[in-house]
Subunit: 250 residues, 2 copies
């Protein structure tokens, strides 16, 4: 804050960039990690796939100050998917501000990554897919497999870099935190949670060893048994649920 002129209003004396939020929304379908991409309908990058996002509302200069960055991310997500659930996990990834990342001018994007569990994803699917706004520049939107399809796509702006960063963050976080719970239905079996781990890490995990990891979480009170069993086409499996209270401290 030391780049000051001598007047109180120096904040306004510098050229300013535009600020956007972009959201990397992950979900796991069956055993496949997917990311939500939208197809751009307009220049620049018309026809290219991009991350959902949009401008942060900053308010006018003397009136309201506009919205928080997290709020902007959640709002954009709600507008793209039709979902405004607090159950969607949202975490800031960082700022991407290379001078030439947007051909229209200087635009700094605050990137977020978000996780959608299968149940909530189902409520989108029931409405015929992600909801696009009238007048949006997004011509289409769909879930793209991260491992297979997304690798080959050319994404708009620096969205490839953002997606890679989000994936790296997700993989790092999932080893050490309880993030995987955000990608699983409200009740789940040991095998279902393991499949989410495998989808994110991109490699198989010994079921026996995963079970012991699971049992440790059970001991720690992160999980509890839920009533009922899951019919799996083979031996029925016990179902569990995430104990949300255990996350209050984080």
């Amino acid at each position: 804050m030391s780049k000051a002129k001598t007047t109180k209003s120096y904040v306004y004396e510098y050229p300013r960039p535009s600020i956007t939020v972009d959201v990397v929304l992950f979900t796991v379908v069956d055993t496949d990690l997917k990311v939500l991409l939208v197809r751009r309908g307009e220049a620049p990058f018309a026809g290219a796939w991009a991350l959902p996002g949009g401008f942060v509302r900053v308010g006018d200069e003397r009136g309201s100050r506009g919205e928080d960055l997290d709020t902007a991310a959640r709002r954009e997500l709600a507008e793209e998917t039709g979902l405004a659930s607090p159950r969607i996990y949202l975490e800031q990834l960082g700022a991407f501000g290379a001078p030439d990342r947007d051909p229209r001018g200087r635009v700094v994007s605050i990137a977020y990554f978000a996780l959608l569990d299968p149940e909530l994803r189902g409520t989108i699917a029931a409405r015929g897919g992600p909801v696009l706004r009238a007048g949006s520049d997004a011509a289409d939107a769909r879930w793209v497999s991260v491992a297979s399809e997304a690798r080959r796509l050319t994404l708009a702006f620096d969205h490839r870099e953002i997606l890679d960063a989000a994936l790296a963050r997700l993989r790092m976080r999932v080893e050490v935190s309880t993030l995987a719970f955000e990608l699983v239905p409200p009740t789940f079996t040991v095998g279902e949670l393991r499949e989410v781990f495998e989808a994110i890490r991109g490699e198989a995990h010994d079921p026996a060893n995963f079970r012991r990891k699971f049992e440790r979480m059970l001991d720690e009170g992160l999980l509890e048994e839920a009533p009922g069993k899951r019919q799996t086409g083979t031996k029925p499996a016990r179902v569990y649920r995430f104990v949300r209270a255990a996350r209050d401290g984080s």
Copy 2:
């Protein structure tokens, strides 16, 4: 990127925030973790301690696009400390954009955390401390002990929140990466590196166990023995150096 009007120049149709970078520069003096704070000379928060930082140069609307965010952080650091060394570790912490974080208007800050080793810090000290620019709104600057002094200070803007986030990030990173090497002189003893760990974690670490951790890093090729011994006032200790090549992959 879907908040579009229909003209190509819609980027300019929205009110824009100002963008700053703020830098949390850590160093370890003896066995004490310190952070560089500047005292503000002007409103708002005149007289309060704050993180060094300043506005990102975004260029004018038709000319150059201005500087990268990382470049801006490094430039501000150079201007505050007189040091422009690539040896200063710099990592983006995230964006802080609460609507009311700056009383002057909507300002989004991209926060960085940076690490300064004792040798480089010495070159600052030799010049009589951090260098303040002529016409700066920073009236003073100094190293503040994180554990004792900084806890009690009231910081300007949301810099308390940024400092806490930087400290949390540093503590998390130091357990799992080679960050501690950035806070140690070019050659160091086992005990010196341990003291850096202790300063960051805020608690003692068994010397015998730390030595084994150290030896593992030696086996992995992260470290190598350096010529000479360190006179310590007691039994002379072997000195080592960081093998920079081992970091290329990260």
